[in-house]
């Protein structure tokens, strides 16, 4: 990693109008929920507005200038987003969100049984196995459960160690494994997966690797080609971009062979009443009128992050994580769920407070203007694994400050006092 570059956080914060509002009777907003949805800078909102005010039209259709401009904006967005994650433009498919991107792969695979020889490598059946981990977000868990249900394949998973790592000592990848799907960074624990090792094991048995990169792409440099994964998914709204857009990355030869998930307009090559042939990727996977202003907005978010530099973003968020781990650990009765050090870690810090339910912790923090997430964060099995119904979670982004981490720690202490457990 490059040496940490100190960010000009004040300058960055000036780009985010929402960070300057107050909540709950005049308290300054301390937004520590970017892992759920990040805020958008003016540059992103402006890019969307300018597209809508000047260039809006259906992309890939129409014989008029606006349509040409809209298509150029859409495809230029694809190219910039591709470059941001080490991909080629044709390897980038726009979806509604990351959940849809993961479903696209799972449904593409279950459609493979009737899609001819090219798709044979995606066919699953009884005896085949899909391997995930116990820390997965529901969006990288339920689609695989359902795929197994449809095909007769078996779902298996790596357990998680007490300090929040994927337990590689319990081998789950075998000759029967056809897919290995896991989160690049846990949305609860903050731990970063040993991608290289999991890819190596998957390659040994010829399994496909699907990476849920929702919590990594917004926060660190990520290069899918270098990681050597087959598919990867991430979402726009977690990386300073719009909602309503997600991204699927796929290796070119795999996208070329994968059957479509959603069918209809825009994704066709030739349609007859009897039969239809499909367009090459990525169009094959973008049925219907695509989200155009969202793609433009996401590309602006990518430009914004690139302007800061992802190494600097990661270093900044890691420093906030260090402060949070330190501050929270000093409070008696507070337990961190996840790695307590910064090794292979990102900026999601989940914790439980003895004697206070996470909802109540969140309520006290909210009363002080500090916005965190409480609950199971769409990772219910992981919470069960740690024997807790819910955790409180703070997540950091490029616009957060050390003072905000202090507000978090002080808020947790105030909750302990309020509920009389300090």
């Amino acid at each position: 990693m490059k040496p940490a570059v100190a960010l000009d956080v004040a300058k960055i914060r000036a780009d985010f109008p929402v960070l300057h509002r107050t909540v709950r009777g005049g308290r300054p907003l301390v937004y520590l929920d970017s892992g759920a949805t990040a805020q958008r800078p003016r540059q992103v909102v402006d890019a969307e507005r300018s597209f809508l005010e000047q260039h809006n039209a259906a992309v890939h259709r129409g014989a008029h200038q606006l349509s040409e401009e809209a298509t150029d904006a859409y495809e230029s967005a694809r190219a910039r987003i591709a470059a941001f994650v080490g991909a080629l433009p044709e390897q980038i498919v726009f979806t509604k969100n990351a959940t849809e991107a993961l479903n696209l792969v799972a449904y593409g695979m279950s459609n493979a049984a009737t899609a001819g020889e090219d798709a044979a490598r995606f066919v699953l059946g009884p005896g085949d196995e899909v391997v995930i981990t116990e820390l997965e977000h529901h969006s990288n868990l339920v689609p695989w459960q359902e795929l197994c249900k449809r095909t007769g394949a078996t779902l298996r998973w790596f357990p998680i160690t007490d300090d929040g790592r994927i337990d590689l000592s319990q081998e789950r990848i075998t000759e029967r494994t056809k897919v290995v799907a896991f989160a690049h960074q846990s949305n609860v624990l903050g731990s970063i997966a040993p991608v290289q090792e999991l890819v190596r094991r998957a390659r040994e048995v010829g399994a496909l690797v699907v990476l849920d990169a929702c919590q990594s792409v917004p926060h660190m440099p990520v290069d899918f080609a270098a990681l050597d994964v087959d598919f990867a998914a991430f979402s726009g709204h977690k990386m300073l971009g719009p909602t309503g857009i997600g991204v699927l990355y796929g290796r070119s030869e795999l996208l070329a062979a994968l059957p479509p998930f959603l069918t209809g307009g825009s994704m066709i090559e030739l349609v007859r009443m009897e039969e239809t042939t499909f367009a090459p990727p990525p169009q094959r996977f973008e049925a219907g009128t695509p989200m155009s202003s969202q793609a433009v907005g996401l590309a602006a978010a990518v430009d914004y992050l690139s302007g800061i530099g992802m190494d600097a973003v990661h270093a900044h968020e890691l420093e906030l994580t260090r402060l949070a781990l330190e501050g929270l650990s000093e409070l008696p009765g507070v337990r961190i769920i996840g790695p307590s050090d910064l090794t292979d870690r990102g900026g999601a810090v989940s914790f439980v407070v003895d004697g206070i339910h996470a909802h109540d912790v969140g309520q006290v923090l909210d009363d002080r203007g500090v916005a965190i997430r409480v609950g199971h964060h769409c990772a219910w099995p992981l919470h069960r694994r740690f024997g807790v119904a819910a955790t409180a979670r703070a997540t950091f982004a490029v616009y957060n400050t050390p003072e905000e981490v202090t507000a978090l720690v002080e808020g947790v202490r105030a909750a302990q006092e309020f509920f009389g457990v300090a």
Binding site: G25, H357, H359, D360, D367, A389
Partner: protein
């Protein structure tokens, strides 16, 4: 301070010493309810004598609001007829879902009026209603069984 509006002393008292906590035998019907957004769970049992609710017991895994609500529910419905209990339930539901526009009637809701502050926090309304939904479900199960 808004926090005290929500966490009124009555709520905190019920939270610290919940009534009806701990599942009891015998019972006529049981309901298990979850709040999928946060993972909170309740198992609630009712015991009936004809049309009268003679006992409620529950095991609640949840926040202070959901635990206190289950406790207040126990106080409010035990000894009442099913019809009366359902009227209390309706009043409680109306109050908590009103965003603060419904003035609660203490004669009907007793300690339940303390949850009026929760109505201003839409995210917590489900917590307050979890035990009531379990009660409603358990009653309807008991009636299915009797039919």
């Amino acid at each position: 301070m808004q926090l005290e509006q929500m966490y009124q002393e009555i709520i905190l008292d019920h939270y610290r010493n919940p009534h009806g906590s701990g599942l009891k035998e015998p019972y006529d019907a049981e309901s298990f309810q979850i709040n999928p957004t946060c993972g909170d769970e309740i198992t609630l049992r009712v015991r009936l004598d004809g049309e009268t609710v003679t006992d409620v017991s529950h095991e609640t895994l949840g926040c202070s609001i959901s635990q206190a609500s289950a406790s207040v529910l126990t106080d409010l419905v035990v000894g009442r007829s099913v019809g009366e209990a359902m009227k209390v339930l309706q009043a409680f539901q109306e109050m908590t879902q009103s965003r603060g526009t419904v003035e609660p009637d203490e004669d009907v809701l007793g300690d339940g009026v303390a949850f009026a502050g929760v109505a201003k926090y839409p995210a917590r309304v489900k917590c307050a209603l979890l035990s009531w939904m379990a009660f409603k479900d358990a009653i309807s199960r008991s009636q299915e069984g009797a039919a």
